[in-house]
Amino acid sequence: MTQPAIEQAPREEHELDHHPEPRQYVVVGVWLAIVTALEVGIYYIDSMRDLIVPFLLVFAFIKFFLVATWFMHLKFDSHLFRRLFVSGLVLALIVFAIVLVVFLARGGAVPEISGG
């Protein structure tokens, strides 16, 4: 039989105790700096022009992932927090996809705005 949810309350304190050590935060910070340097470096390599978009998206995803999992503690905290956050992200992508489809249905033209 499953335990009532209210008995899981002490878990939160337990999770707070298991946040990373300062040294680990600094290591993640160094990785973030390295990925940012690679990101900017690749921007200036002309021979990479055709592949720049996928590379940049991968680098941005790595940085996003590192900050969300280590600094925002999604790696260590309750899965419910992760679900809330990912739901927002997925909804944002769905909204973008719907708007894009609507624009494409209009023949690919972005609606005119006076002055634009």
């Binding site: 209210i6 707070l16 973030l32 700096a33 022009r49 956050f85 739901s87 927002g88 909804l91």
Partner: protein, 203 residues
Amino acid sequence: MSTQPVAAPPAPEHRTSTGLDNVKLAMWAFLGSECLFFGSLISTYLLYRNRVLDGPRPHEIYDIPYTSVSSFVLLMSSVTMVLALAAIQRGDHRGLRIWLLATAMLGSVFIGGQIYEFTAFVDEGLKLSTSTFGSAFFVMTGFHGAHVTVGIFMLLSLVGMSLFGRLSDHDGPRKVELIGLYWHFVDIVWIVIFTVVYLIPTN
């Protein structure tokens, strides 16, 4: 029959049906909704960035080395923010104040850089009403800058609370963690903006 005064029972420990802190849960729900907010602004920018009938085009005015430095500054402010949290978790209030002030200072440098960038763009002929690209760009980055500014005020409030002994060892770490979540969120939004807006080439 006379009634004896009875000492008030100790306040029960706050329990929730999920076993999680409701305020932290609310913060995550708020951040989820902020994903939609910034997602809409970034989507609008992507759809309109090539619509320039008048004024400069995106990659004629972006200064990538300059923006790279300010992006790096904001990224490093996330490191100082988690070091502030680590400090209060071990009861080190002096360390907390130092790291919070460092975070606020790095955030202020970022905002100063953004104000300079906006001024330079206006001088080069890109204003809010110049083109659809200009409107989308200024609204998106302006809202992000406003979020960073609010974050700086919240960080300074935490420093004040620590100075006046309003951050106890019991609930202090939780308060710092909540503000930290907001700050890191603002950082990851900029990670996306920096890549999608500044680095990915336009047509």
